[in-house]
Amino acid sequence: MKITAGKQGFQSLNEQVRELLSENDEILIEDVNGQRYIGAAMDKGKTLNLYGTPGNDMGAYLNGGKIEVFGNAQEAVGNTMGGGEIIIHGHTGDTLGYAMRDGEIYVRNRAGSRAGIHMKEFENMHPTVVIGGIAGAFLAEYMAGGTLIVLGLNRDKNQDIVGAHCATGMHGGKIYVRGEVPEHHISPNISVSELNEEENEELLRCIKKYCVLFKEEEEYILKEKFYKLSPSSSRPYANLYTKN
């Protein structure tokens, strides 16, 4: 099934997509021009392949569906996503995967600021975000669970892999960073350590998938060592208050 988004507004496009998805499992949308909320709350078993640039909140509350973008995406991809898969063959804007609880997001290139804010996990739900390029400021702020991987590929020598205020208020989950960690950007309550065996396996699994998706070389990526950022306390604000 193939349709063209063109210049129509998001409401008519999304209505058309919902209607078509009631009878089809996979839709290709051409000429996407910034229409918002594409694939919002889309269920498991449904797939959207997007050509062009989808607008903000693509895949918000995604409910198990799969979205692949052959191009760049804008802000708030996978906002409060509950499960499924998002693959972006390009860059993405701010607040990638805000408060996502399950599923996977793979971004070939860079992510803007505040990626992975307040990601969380629950029972066997475990969200994973892989960013191929660099990540902007406030990466993983308030992160409460899940896995965030930043590869920092294709960056200028003077560019840090993560931006300022990385992992502020983080109280759960893990971030794996490739190569030197720019300590001056890392929040004081975060400890930097090496990956254990289990974590290494998880990392390898994700890198393999990244390489298959984007045709990159595993060997090249693994040439550099990875470090783990994790909260030194799961209760960063435990002693802030006095009961009155």
Partner: protein, 499 residues
């Protein structure tokens, strides 16, 4: 050395005390204890919070809680409370944390507004004999209605919420209150034909059966928010702010995240549930618009989307922006609203009274000709039915109440909700305390309260010669101020008594 003296004193009438130990077992603050002889009951009053549980439970009425009678050298600036709070902070270096609501003696405008009644002309109506409509609809209203030649409605109405009373129960999450307390509210909402609100704690699976009576909240932590949750609620409420703590987020400490709470919030047991101060995808009205529309898209335009803000200084401009961003319902929460926990200084110093905010906002939306695009819900302390009638005349479509139904369930305003030790089984997750609150009994008390208020509202309406609550909405001619300044009257948009 403890620098402070107790606030309360436990007076036990030893002629009445039968050493049954009920108070020892019931006080979660561990005030009462048996002496070494196993018979004499003693008390460590320094821990008492005056929740009256022991006094209520004592079979011989032997217990009285009194103010600790300690003389201070008179000083109207450095009151005992000020001194106590300084000592607490000197000892710990912590931010003062309180529960419930602003307890400072700011003006309560409800008590300075009087209602009208008809005399001779436009006679009053007796609600016992004549039908009196208090049914309330919330949701965006269209600009105009169009009908076809058969008189059927052609205009497609935006989703509307039908309530059998203008009174709803405001957001109290499972986590801040107990399961039994939330269930009591859910049961009461069902029986009354109104709604309860899950707060940001998600919807507990055992309350699924009440989903048609639930408002589901989406707050900055997005706890428990998923497709099924959004689809369960009658409407979705985006929480931007709360009257008890405008401008700051929430923080449910790990100790309160029990297995049950973790299931509803969808976070691991024992982990802190931190709601950041802002939604990090909302830094502007345009961003808020984006969240509103993403929720509409996710629920296929079947649910109204509400936005809740705290009543603050420039709230009329904010509400105007929120209305234009596409909200169907706007909730404003005044500075007397309650909370499970808030920093004391914020609870007591930030925000403005709902009376002033409501009047200002209703006027602003009318002046901009967009009042019909949203329903206004006022919150932030309604103590009785007269407060509610006055709020509706000031422009509210409906109100949210929370503290009043909690009092109906046993709350004694001890303001220790943040301690997690609520002796009345309300603001606690301790199983031994939670089971003290029996939903089968408590829901009925809440229903009784709202039934009584509904009837009183009808009586007041009838007295004004009105037979429908719609005729009262924004009808400020029914209000007069008493003892108010020109400026206050101007903001409230009412005349002074005698005018």
């Amino acid at each position: 050395m403890n620098y402070t003296v107790p606030e309360f004193e436990v007076e036990r009438n030893i002629n009445r005390c039968i050493s049954c130990g009920a108070c020892v077992r019931q006080c979660s603050y561990e005030v009462h204890y048996f002496d070494d002889d196993g018979k004499t009951v003693l008390a460590d009053e320094s821990k008492c919070v005056a929740c009256h549980r022991c006094a209520a439970i004592c079979p011989t009425r032997a217990i009285k809680i009194k103010k600790y009678d300690m003389a201070y050298k008179e000083h109207s600036n450095w009151t005992p409370v000020m001194q106590k709070e300084i000592n607490l902070q000197a000892a710990t270096g912590g931010v003062l944390l309180s529960g419930m609501s602003n307890n400072k003696p700011y003006p309560i405008y409800w008590d300075k507004i009087l209602l009208n009644a008809s005399q001779v002309t436009n006679p009053s109506i007796d609600p016992l004999r004549e039908p009196m409509e208090i049914r309330t609809f919330l949701g965006r209203k269209p600009e105009k209605l169009e009908f076809n030649e058969n008189g059927e409605l052609k205009t497609k109405l935006p989703p509307q919420i039908q309530l059998e009373t203008p009174i709803m129960f405001s957001a109290m999450s499972f986590g801040s209150i107990s399961f039994n307390a939330q269930k009591s509210l859910a049961m009461a909402a069902k029986e009354l034909g109104t709604l309860f609100n899950t707060g940001e704690g998600g919807l507990h699976p055992k309350l699924e059966e009440f989903k048609d009576y639930a408002v589901v909240q989406v707050a900055s932590g997005r706890f428990g928010v998923h497709k099924g949750y959004l689809e369960s609620g009658r409407f979705i409420e985006i929480k931007i702010g709360q009257g008890a703590k405008p401008g700051i987020g929430g923080h449910l400490p790990g100790e309160k995240v029990t297995v049950e709470v973790s299931n509803a919030r969808m976070i691991p047991v024992g982990s802190d549930a931190i709601s950041p101060a802002p939604h990090h995808d909302i830094y502007s009205i345009e961003d808020l618009r984006q969240l509103i529309w993403s929720l509409k898209e996710a629920t296929q335009y079947k649910k109204p989307v509400a936005v809740k803000i705290a009543a603050v200084h420039n709230c009329s401009a904010i509400v105007s922006g929120v209305a234009r961003a596409g909200a169907d319902i706007i909730v404003m929460d005044g500075f007397r609203g309650g909370t499970g926990a808030a920093p004391t200084r914020i609870r007591d110093n930030v925000g403005i009274p709902i009376e002033l905010a409501l009047a200002a906002v209703d006027k602003r939306l009318r002046d901009e000709s967009i009042r019909n695009t949203v329903s206004l819900v006022a919150a932030g302390s309604f103590r009785n039915s007269a407060d509610i009638v006055k709020a509706i005349a000031l422009g509210a479509d409906a109100v949210y109440v929370a503290s009043a139904p909690l009092i109906a369930m046993g709350c004694h305003m001890c303001q220790q909700c943040h301690s997690g030790k609520c002796n009345w089984g309300i603001a606690t997750q301790r199983p031994d305390l939670v089971k003290r609150l029996n939903p089968e009994i408590m829901y009925k008390r809440v229903v009784n309260l709202i039934d009584a208020w509904n009837h009183e509202i009808k009586e007041m309406l009838g007295g004004m010669g009105l037979n429908s609550i719609d005729s009262l909405r924004g009808n400020r001619l029914m209000l007069r101020g008493i003892g108010l300044t020109e400026k206050e009257l101007e903001i409230l948009g009412i005349s002074h008594a005698g005018e």
